[in-house]
């Protein structure tokens, strides 16, 4: 068995193990768990959107525990300041009695950061976090402080309580690899949640991975080859999100104001590579692109007024786009 085959199998096994471990605590929401794990392995960040009480925080915490990484949580409030996130320079006394300025790292200095209700903070504070997400470093007092890898931000936001919130601007939304929608549990899932959380026994998870292994696999995932025809599918999908594109479906032209940026294409392909590995494949398939398209693109498609007024969900536009692109690239030899 070749080295690559072994590595892919190990990756697949580890991925399944983490998922199983998380599944011991988190009921349902498999796509959310998978999405979060993809972000972890890919080095991206995820925005989780869902009403309170659906287990978002628990999910993030559990994830951090399973990968033996440092976890921090920031509860975003309107009065939260950037320094509360990044840290600040404080005057402290040294053992020899001298006084000096010392950098006190903020909660952003963690491997897994939960930015709870990110839309409640002011844009200024939000941008401080988003800079850290993008640059993976924090600059305080003219000094650049590198964040430890792997660095994963899992931000949550509540879609219903919009009063007194500061919705994330489009440019900042683009920095998230995925936008994951957390849905309420169904009957079976709710039953399991109740059983697990109201009994005597509390489920705990064991760590199965560490940071260096995650970084190693991140390199492995980048080496997964993608065939030109699959890449063409992904790129056509991205281009199809632009209403100015001639080949865009009518729904896009009608309801979309702006389409995805090139970052969306990167997200789509990188995440597809991770997904291919999780399925034990050595190549990216169109199926991977299709599966990844919604979490990777839904926050990158900005609806126009008509789309918002009609209550069009970006997911339905993506569905239309996928169908349109598949039809355009369909091979027909007449048999």
């Amino acid at each position: 068995m070749s080295d690559i085959t072994q590595q892919v199998e190990q990756f697949q096994r580890a991925f399944d193990e983490i998922r199983t471990e998380i599944g011991r605590v988190i009921v349902g929401n498999k796509e959310i768990v998978e999405g979060a794990l993809v972000c972890l392995f890919m080095g991206g960040h995820a925005l989780l959107e869902g009403v309170p009480g659906l287990g978002k925080t628990l999910l993030v915490r559990t994830l951090a525990e399973t990968v033996r990484l440092k976890f921090n949580r920031i509860q975003f409030t309107p009065d939260l300041m950037p320094a509360d996130i990044t840290g600040t320079t404080i005057l402290s006394e040294t053992p020899d009695g001298k006084r000096e300025f010392r950098f006190q790292p903020g909660p952003v200095f963690a491997n897994v950061l939960l930015a709870d209700e990110i839309n409640r903070a002011t844009p200024k504070t939000q941008s401080a976090l988003l800079e850290a997400m993008q640059e993976r470093s924090v600059t305080v007092g003219g000094v650049v402080h590198k964040l430890e890898e792997p660095f994963l931000v899992l931000a949550t936001q509540n879609p219903i309580e919009m009063e007194g919130t500061y919705p994330l601007p489009e440019a900042q939304l683009d920095r998230f690899l995925f936008k994951l929608l957390v849905y309420p549990p169904n009957f079976e899932e709710l039953s399991a949640i109740v059983d697990r959380t109201t009994g005597e026994k509390t489920e705990t998870v064991r760590p199965v991975l560490d940071g260096p292994t995650i970084l190693q696999w991140r390199q492995l995932a980048r080496a997964v080859p993608i065939a030109p025809n699959v890449q063409e599918f992904a790129l056509r999908l991205i281009l199809g999100t632009h209403p100015s594109n001639d080949e865009a479906p009518s729904m896009v032209k009608q309801f979309v104001r702006f389409g995805s940026s090139p970052r969306g294409a990167q997200a789509l392909i990188l995440a597809s590579k991770i997904r291919a590995l999780t399925k034990g494949r050595y190549n990216v398939a169109i199926e991977d692109i299709v599966e990844i398209a919604k979490p990777a693109l839904r926050h990158r498609i900005l609806l126009n007024f008509e789309g918002q007024a009609e209550g069009i969900a970006p997911d339905s536009i993506i569905d239309e786009l996928i169908a349109h692109t598949q039809e355009a690239l369909k091979i027909s030899v007449g048999v």
Partner: protein
């Protein structure tokens, strides 16, 4: 990137490539089934439509109107199925789509030619994964070869087409008239077969190749008629063609008579030349005898000189001179003997040639030419003999020209000229002359065989008898030119329409346009007649896409005038369509005599007599 390109020697045939190759064949087969059937379906329904239009007289009937669309449809369908290029990548994508292989095959194929990708550590694993999955693919399941619905539709159309075309020709569906007609054709077929068999037997017995060949062809036609494979119209057309062919042969025979006369003249001319040669030979013989006599007298007694009172030394000188003269004389005699022998051989060869010309025997002529050629080659060392030979060949060339063998005569004349000047030729020219002499016999034989007496007079007679027998008993009135189907024969239409009756073109003259009957040019419609025989006539005309070159004489009855007179149009067939057996010069002479007779009876004005005479003189000249 084609599949062939992918199968370059750098890659050993793998399960993946084998799968793709097989898949390509299956896709092509499936396409062929689909598009071929569609083409066939469209073509066969179109053919059915055309057939219907033909039956309704909207289109001229032609077998190509039925076969053409079918073949064209099949051809287009096949081309559409097979011509588009199927790349390996396309086949791989299609296969993996159908077998749910998650782009494994296309990734392996697409990346194998990409240097950066194929050097990736993932590529071997990807390739192995693709090979593994390719081995498990069931091509029959993913590319099923089903007979499409269009195929059944085309079968239905073809069945209808066959039904419409063939059913009326089955005896079961024949009308009373048709049955009677076919019975007539059958009887005629039996008669022709019997006639042909007899003729064939006779021809075999008497070694008459041309008659035998004609009899065989006649027999084939008769068998077809007897077996009901030809209806009356087709039988008539076939017999028409055969009669035409035989008439052509007959015409050749007529032309041979002229050739034979020419050959006789040539033989006569050669005979005169031979007589001259004979005289020369006679002279040579006399000269030889004279010399022999002189030789006997001169050297006999040397004492005669003494008796004449000549001194001794003078006697010795005379003796010496006398012996030299004798020696020279002997040499001359020897030379003369040789020449005489050669000339005798030449005479013999020329005599054989003359006889060959007279008997019109090309083989004998070739042998004679062979002898002459050898003699000419032998004579090349002797200028006098070469001169003689050249003269004789010149005479022979003139004779051959008289016999119509122009090419041989021309060559021979040139050779004769060269032979006469052979003493002035260099070695290369002599070698060339020798080569030319060697070629003459073969060339002469070829020309004789091609242009001359292939048919013996006996064969001619037998052929004529066969034609006459065929003509005399024919129910359709076929036969030699001038006896029915052809201009100058029986009344218009009698032979053509059977039963030896005049056809009544218009039973309902008020509703029929007479001019349409003979309309046969492109774009014009064939006329409508109500008589069965007229339909046949129309059918006959319609069988020829262009104006027939052998249109018969005929008469078309038109509408009646108010006074009750029926207008009619008479038309004459193409006179060139059937040439008469009478040679042209004979016809001219006969007509000239008639004209002279008319002139002598003073029916022609005096002022115009000279003009009429001059006209016939001109014709006579052309006839020559």
């Amino acid at each position: 990137m084609s599949l062939q390109a992918n199968l370059s020697p750098s890659y050993a045939p793998s399960a993946l490539h084998v799968l793709l190759r097989k898949a390509t064949w299956r896709i092509r087969a499936a396409r062929l089934l689909r598009f071929g059937s569609t083409g066939l379906c469209i073509g066969s329904w179109l053919a059915l439509l055309f057939l219907g239009a033909g039956k309704l007289r909207l289109l001229p009937p032609s077998p190509w109107m039925e076969l053409g669309p079918i073949l064209l449809g099949l051809l287009i369908g096949t081309a559409f199925a097979l011509l588009p290029r199927l790349s390996a990548l396309t086949v791989a994508r299609l296969t993996e789509q159908r077998a749910d292989l998650k782009e494994r095959l296309s990734s392996a194929i697409a990346l194998e030619t990409t240097e950066s990708a194929s050097s990736s550590p993932f590529y071997p694993a990807l390739r192995a994964d693709a090979e593994r999955h390719a081995a498990d693919v069931n091509l029959k399941a993913i590319y099923p070869l089903r007979i499409p619905r269009t195929f059944w539709l085309s079968l239905l159309a073809l069945a209808l087409l066959a039904g419409v075309t063939l059913l009326p020709s089955l005896p079961l569906f024949w009308s009373k008239e048709k049955k009677a007609e076919m019975s007539e054709v059958k009887k005629e077929g039996i008669r022709i077969v019997r006639l042909a068999q007899q003729a064939e037997k006779e021809a075999t017995k008497k070694h008459l190749p041309m008659t035998k060949q004609a009899a065989e062809e006649l027999k084939k036609l008769g068998i077809k008629m007897r077996e009901g494979k030809l209806d009356k119209v087709h039988a008539m057309v076939a017999m028409h063609k055969l009669t035409q062919k035989l008439a052509e042969q007959q015409r050749q025979q007529a032309a041979q008579k002229k050739n034979a006369a020419q050959a006789q003249q040539a033989a006569q001319q050669l005979k005169q030349s031979l007589q001259k040669l004979d005289q020369q030979l006679q002279q040579r013989r006399q000269a030889l005898q004279q010399m022999a006599a002189n030789q006997q007298v001169k050297p006999t007694n040397p004492n005669n000189a003494l008796r004449n009172g000549q001194p001794n030394h003078q006697q010795k000188g005379v003796q010496k001179n006398s012996s030299a003269a004798l020696k020279k004389n002997a040499e001359q005699m020897q030379q003369l003997k040789k020449e005489l022998a050669s000339l005798q051989k030449m005479q013999k060869a020329l005599l054989a040639m003359q006889q060959a010309l007279q008997a019109q025997n090309s083989e004998a002529m070739q042998q004679a030419m062979q002898q002459l050629s050898q003699l000419a080659q032998q004579s090349m060392g002797n200028p006098q003999l070469a001169q003689q030979m050249g003269q004789q060949l010149q005479s022979l060339a003139q004779a051959l020209q008289q016999a119509g063998l122009n090419r041989t005569a021309q060559q021979l004349a040139q050779i004769a000229k060269m032979l006469q000047n052979s003493q002035n030729l260099n070695s290369d020219q002599l070698a060339f002359l020798k080569k030319l002499l060697g070629q003459i016999p073969g060339m002469c034989f070829g020309e004789c065989t091609g242009a001359w007496w292939q048919i013996s007079p006996l064969d001619q007679e037998a052929l004529l008898s066969l034609l006459a027998a065929c003509r005399n008993g024919s129910r359709f009135g076929i036969g030699l030119p001038g006896f029915g189907l052809f201009p100058g024969g029986s009344p218009s239409g009698a032979a053509l329409f059977g039963s030896h009756k005049h056809f009544s073109a218009m039973k309902d003259p008020g509703k029929t346009k007479a001019h349409l009957l003979i309309a046969n040019s492109k774009g014009s419609k064939v006329g409508q007649g109500k008589a069965g025989s007229l339909q046949e006539f129309i059918h006959y005309l319609a069988m020829h896409p262009h104006t027939p070159s052998h249109a018969p004489n005929g008469m078309i009855l038109g509408t009646r005038t108010q006074k009750g007179n029926e207008l009619s149009i008479q038309f004459l067939g193409d006179p060139d369509g059937a040439s008469a057996a009478t040679p042209y010069y004979q016809a001219v002479i006969t007509s000239q005599r008639q004209a002279e007779s008319v002139l002598n009876q003073e029916h022609v004005p005096v002022t115009l007599r000279q003009q009429v005479r001059a006209y016939f003189d001109t014709l006579h000249g052309e006839g020559k």
